[in-house]
Symmetry: C2
Subunit: 430 residues, 2 copies
């Protein structure tokens, strides 16, 4: 049974805090092994990369075969059914269209003193995309990572994907082909991240590494951060559904199950003002679970991490949502816009009864790479801005410099940086 809480209970605060604090994944300390792998790849380059790949993935690669030939990409992509190709193309086109609208504009202006000030955006040159292999190998994630990079204007995208026992999901390669990614290497784990960050003979280094992965990949990203940029440290997925009496319990139940079927600590929470809906959703989850091919995973996730919370008002529901700062928040309400301003911390918000979260996973157009584990308090979903950077511009006329010199030299003095002051005063001498 999932946790059932009522915000009116005396012990609610304590139990809700426990729910928030609960760990949903084993935090494995792989710091030392990852540091050793990174050091090895830095020291021995491809030799280390090949050795580690053959050991961990039993892939039988050499430095010459690390890269998947473009002909092989095309051949694999061709093995995917026309229906799947068309679906991936639709997803790609919608993701692309939406992300095109995220492109920032430069903002450069002159202030009242004649000082030029501004922000200019430019793309990152080279990006590495990590794509997990095996079970959680999702072609949709290839699109979600590659498309914003391309829209940003990134000129080189290098994709790495482990191929355990030499196997790769052809839909992954089809998605890469649709997204225009042609530089793909069959490597994974911390060794792939190290190669992307520091470069080897076979894999030129990139400027930023994005994409989800296991504990080794996440730790490697943390360790190479600074040498390259990284996106975020992804945790288990999660949804929080806010529903009132207008919600359809079967639809809400289906959404809770969709989240729980990710397994690996995925969490589904229902917050509702309607106790009858809460009961009906719980029954519906049971009924629908019984019909699901992978019911074991979904049931385990629902029972271990799921929660159904009844509250007195939608305002209270919004408050709990903000404290949870969930990756996905669904507003299963007739008038979702009315509650929208109250939801301040969420990776993505899904509006109304006809927007199941799964639409956003694939074809809505928005990005499905979103902050997890309460990091929506400070982090954002992946987007075009993540593949660009800002340069600030400053320009003074002689008159503007003369105007600003006094306070600048004064502060330089307080900071004991005379050379700073002198670089200004020397320009004032006629």
């Amino acid at each position: 049974m999932p946790l059932r809480l009522d915000s009116a209970s005396p012990d609610f605060e304590a139990r809700f805090s426990d729910l928030l604090a609960g760990k949903r994944e084993a935090s494995r300390d792989v710091n030392d092994s990852v540091a050793a792998i990174i050091a090895d790849v830095r020291a021995r380059g491809d030799a280390a990369l090949v050795e580690l790949t053959n050991r961990f993935d039993r892939a039988g690669v050499t430095a010459a075969t690390l890269r998947i030939p473009e002909a092989d990409i095309a051949a694999a992509a061709a093995r995917v059914s026309p229906q799947v190709r068309a679906a991936l193309q639709t997803a790609h086109d919608r993701i692309r269209a939406h992300h095109e609208r995220q492109k920032p504009t430069d903002h450069i202006y002159e202030d009242h003193l004649g000082v030029t000030l501004g922000t200019r955006w430019t793309p990152v040159d080279a990006v590495g995309i990590y794509v997990p292999g095996g079970l959680a190998s999702y072609p949709s994630s290839v699109l979600m990572n590659a498309v914003p990079a391309r829209v940003a204007g990134v000129s080189r995208i290098a994709m790495v994907v482990p191929t355990p026992d030499g196997e790769i999901n052809p839909a992954i390669l089809a998605a890469a082909e649709i997204a225009g990614v042609t530089e793909i290497y069959r490597v994974g784990g911390a060794q792939a991240v190290a190669a992307l960050a520091y470069g080897t003979a076979a894999i030129a280094r990139v400027d930023k590494v994005v994409g989800p992965g296991n504990a080794y990949v996440a730790t490697a990203k943390r360790q190479v951060f600074g040498q390259v940029g990284i996106d975020m440290i992804a945790g288990p997925s999660e949804v929080l559904v806010i529903a009132d009496g207008s919600a359809n319990p079967a639809w809400v139940a289906a959404d809770l199950i969709a989240q729980a079927e990710h397994g690996a600590g995925a969490q589904s929470i229902l917050v509702t003002t309607d106790p009858a809906l809460a009961d009906a959703v719980e029954s519906e989850v049971e009924r629908q679970l019984a019909l699901l091919p992978k019911q074991a995973i979904a049931r385990e996730g629902w029972e271990e991490f799921g929660a159904v919370i009844t509250v007195a008002s939608l305002a209270e529901a919004a408050d709990l949502a903000n404290r949870t700062a969930s990756e996905h928040v669904e507003l299963a309400l007739d008038d979702p816009e009315a509650l929208l301003p109250a939801i301040r911390h969420a990776g993505a918000i899904f509006l109304g009864h006809h927007t199941p979260e799964a639409i956003g996973d694939y074809v809505g157009g928005s990005n499905h790479v979103l902050p997890t584990a309460r990091s929506a308090r400070f982090a954002s979903g992946l987007g075009v801005l993540d593949f660009m950077k800002r340069t600030s511009l400053l320009g003074c006329t002689p008159a503007a410099l003369a105007e600003l010199a006094g306070p600048a030299i004064t502060i330089a003095g307080v900071e004991d940086l005379d050379g700073h002051g002198r670089s200004i005063s020397i320009r004032l001498n006629r």
Copy 2:
């Protein structure tokens, strides 16, 4: 003597690569000690914080005196001269005015299928600002970190500053007062970062930690990343000046010295199309160094890390600047705008002969917290966006859902996520 390179020399490529690869700070591996400090603060809270603070800073604090009373802030601020206060106020007002223009706007629209898509910006709730104590304790940095947070709408700003032997620069507190920061704790090091990230009885936890610090602080930020957001890992400061024959050698020399006087690995590079200017600047640096009170630090930095590079064209200069991806790039040219599009990787660009970098450090209005150590390849200077996060919005009408259902269910099938497909198909049954 600084390094002198000519891009026409046969060994130029090798020597320039060495310059780029050169380490300018000892990379101290303090991972284990930092992990132990963070674990201690998490386990024992204020007791650990007080013990560590009294051990490292000899500060004689208790849990009750960790926070600096507002009356003490006001009293310290009042000890600062009216001239310094006015200068800090000018800096504050200009930084504020510029950052007000960085505020993002939400972008929400309906596409041709009637799907609502959008990006909404909201501020981070609580931010911790780390301010170094001791030598490199800069009131200007307090403004550069606090002002964008306030402009973003952050409702709580907690500042931590170590007070070695109980001492604190009153200008730091004056800057905090001007920026409206009233919650200030006399703690520093990894223990301060741990307290901000996880909270203690005395210091409530925040959502994001920003600000520069030593190896312990940088390592602690890296380790708490994910639990909270962080800004960047700051390295030694650096400037690259691109100059042609129109530049004043004395002014360029003053700018190179201003950077070098930061010490601690700070780097000054001149790239010029004019060998005569290169010679003149080198002589001027010598002449001006002799007049500088802190000449030892600046001379050491200039001789150890400085470089003067002659090139055949401004295009070549821009190429070297992009490969260097410097924190600060000065364009000491009559027509800086002409070269601007060619400079793609830089933290900040200073336009023309009358814009010494030091103006940007204090009163230009732009932020002086900028990416160092070549991270301008992927990172940006601090700004309002760093204190906000994006939530994506998605809303389907029944008709739009029906339109998108097919491809979404197909992709869910390929990914073996039947529950995802069912959350869509269940809504299509009439």
